[in-house]
């Protein structure tokens, strides 16, 4: 009983850390225009829309985050193997992984922009300096939180995988959660605020992303500000729930039917979420669905 209570405590802590990680991850990738919104940022100069948006194309989010977290976990593992205190080891691992992330971000922006020379897109050094540091800060938070989650699983819950392997698995999960949940807030909404709401992206509007702000020219920090409000927390809730429910079912039901209990509960959770998702989808389509004929003018 005591071990289950302890396990639930660790589960709650890991879920909370994962929520922070998800929120930071999504804000980081939106400031860098990583993931699917990247295609429009890349396309815009080719359509004649020069911009000051950061273009940090380092693979997709899941592989890139697989590397950052696996690297943070690998270095933390190495320091722990040298008898360094785990918290210090995780901080060092996250710091070094953040350094690698920052170097990748600068080379990606320089490479992509230099290859667009034909269309007259300049390299903005101030964009490089100010955005890279902000993405690095968010990346540090996300890496530190996720590596800590992995360490809690390994050390407190006795997960059989070594830390770097857990880092790889959860890093890919983190990238996938941020990519799937948070990106629409940036890629489908923020980049196209000048289009009719809910109109999708017509071919003619491809690359015509919003480039001017309330005052002056929009940069990626404005996009980070926007997506930190809804996209970030949504990604955080997504990744937090993934980690929490995964650990919760394992801690509580692992001992039923020689481990099959946890698997059955996992399948039930998936079914419950399918029902919820379907309900939300139908509800949203009914309320915000495709544009029909305007029913009637409210006034006049």
């Amino acid at each position: 009983m005591e071990s289950i209570v302890f396990g639930i405590g660790i589960t709650a802590l890991a879920g909370a850390l994962a929520t922070v990680a998800g929120a930071a991850e999504n804000t980081e990738s939106d400031i860098g225009s990583q993931g699917d919104p990247n295609s429009q940022v890349q396309l815009a100069p080719q359509m004649g829309y020069l911009h000051r948006i950061f273009n940090k194309a380092i693979a997709g989010e899941p592989p890139a985050w697989g590397l950052w977290i696996a690297l943070g976990a690998g270095i933390a593992w190495a320091f722990m193997a040298m008898q360094v205190n785990p918290i210090l080891a995780i901080v060092l691992g996250a710091a070094l992984a953040t350094f690698v992330q920052g170097v990748y971000a600068t080379t990606a922006y320089l490479g992509r922009t230099a290859s667009l020379a034909k269309f007259g897109q300049p390299v903005f050094v101030d964009v490089l300096k100010s955005m890279t540091t902000v993405t690095m800060a968010h990346a540090f938070v996300a890496i530190f939180a996720t590596v800590t989650v992995c360490h809690l699983m390994n050390a407190a819950l006795g997960h059989p995988f070594p830390l770097p392997l857990l880092g790889l698995v959860w890093g890919i999960a983190l990238g996938a959660a941020g990519s799937a949940t948070g990106n629409p807030f940036y890629g489908k909404e923020r980049q196209y605020q000048n289009q009719k709401y809910g109109a999708g992206v017509p071919i003619a509007a491809s690359g015509n992303i919003v480039r001017y702000a309330e005052a002056g020219e929009r940069n990626s920090l404005d996009n980070g500000w926007f997506s930190a409000r809804l996209g970030g927390p949504a990604s955080g809730v997504c990744f937090g729930l993934i980690v929490f429910l995964e650990l919760w079912r394992t801690v509580l039901f692992e001992h039923i039917a020689a481990g099959w209990g946890a698997i059955i509960i996992g399948i039930i959770i998936i079914l419950v979420f399918m029902v919820i998702d379907r309900y939300i989808e139908v509800w949203a389509r009914k309320n915000y669905g495709p544009y029909g004929k305007p029913a009637e003018e409210a006034s006049s």
């Binding site: 690998g74 020379a117 890093g171």
Partner: protein, 282 residues
């Protein structure tokens, strides 16, 4: 059916890069055998240099393959290389001193099978697919072997599965504290997998230039080597790990500076705190 949309103009031909990359990486992996001959671990850094050579070759292979219009497949090509290479690499470590050669041959076989499946079963019909996947698998195997040799001092299975833990001053052999037992191979996999696809992924576009991409490939290789050098600290002697770290930092700094210089050369303009330039017709 795909049509070749971009072609490589000028620069070093792909075959030259391939032959140079293959020879350099195999020779450099073998140079780590000097550890066994001399009884030290100071030659482990040659493993890291082998990965840099293989990654430079690999980035150009991806460019070669992706010039057939595979735009979104660039990052997955890196994963593919390492996924097929890791099988050959792990199997080959059983063969002692012959391991690098066995890894190359086995990886080529795995790559050829995958290429056949991709082209003839999945009907991708890309002319360079089989050759490229053979190259990618060989590169994946050599890079992983390079990291293994760099982090554990040797490319033999016994060295990859035994580390040592010191408890109260006593050094005890441990599977948990080894390259495979600690799953450092998972980190090595991602270090190589991102480093191999990043150069082309970052430099693609109409104004692509070969030298800029190859410098970026070397930069990514040295950057991964810095991380690998730090992770090698508990597995090999601290002196040897510091030698690796020193070599990696020097190489990284040189290639990074060179890459920025080449980006400056290729960029349309290099502006600091300037507004978006006016374009005619808007």
């Amino acid at each position: 059916m795909t049509v070749k949309v971009e072609k490589i103009e000028g620069g070093i031909p792909h075959n030259t890069i391939m032959v140079a990359g293959l020879i350099a990486s195999v020779v450099l992996v073998y140079l780590t055998y000097a550890n066994v001959l001399t009884g030290t671990q100071y030659f482990a850094f040659f493993g890291g240099l082998a990965t840099v050579a293989a990654l430079v070759w690999g980035s150009h292979t991806i460019k070669h393959l992706c010039s057939y219009g595979i735009g979104t497949g660039v990052p997955s090509a890196g994963m593919m290389a390492f996924g097929s290479g890791v099988i050959a690499m792990l199997f080959a470590t059983k063969y002692g001193i012959a391991a690098p050669i066995v890894a190359v041959i086995l990886a080529a076989v795995v790559g050829a099978i995958l290429g056949y499946v991709a082209n003839n079963v999945l009907n991708m019909k890309i002319p360079v697919m089989i050759v490229s996947l053979v190259e990618m698998a060989v590169i994946g195997a050599l890079v992983l072997m390079g990291y293994a040799a760099m982090m554990s001092g040797s490319f033999e299975l016994s060295a990859l599965t035994t580390g040592s833990v010191s408890i109260l001053g006593l050094s005890l052999p441990s599977y948990q504290a080894s390259f495979l037992g600690g799953a450092l191979i998972a980190t090595a996999f991602m270090l190589g997998g991102i480093a191999i696809q990043h150069p082309f992924n970052a430099c693609l576009g109409p104004s692509w230039t070969q030298d800029r991409m190859l410098y970026l490939a070397a930069e990514c290789g040295f950057l991964s080597m810095i991380a690998a050098a730090i992770m090698s600290m508990p597995l090999i002697s601290m002196g040897a790990a510091l030698v690796s770290l020193f070599v990696a930092v020097i190489g990284w700094y040189y290639t990074y500076a060179k890459y920025i210089e080449l980006s400056k050369r290729d960029a349309f303009s290099w502006l600091d705190s300037k507004p978006i330039p006016e374009v005619e017709g808007q």
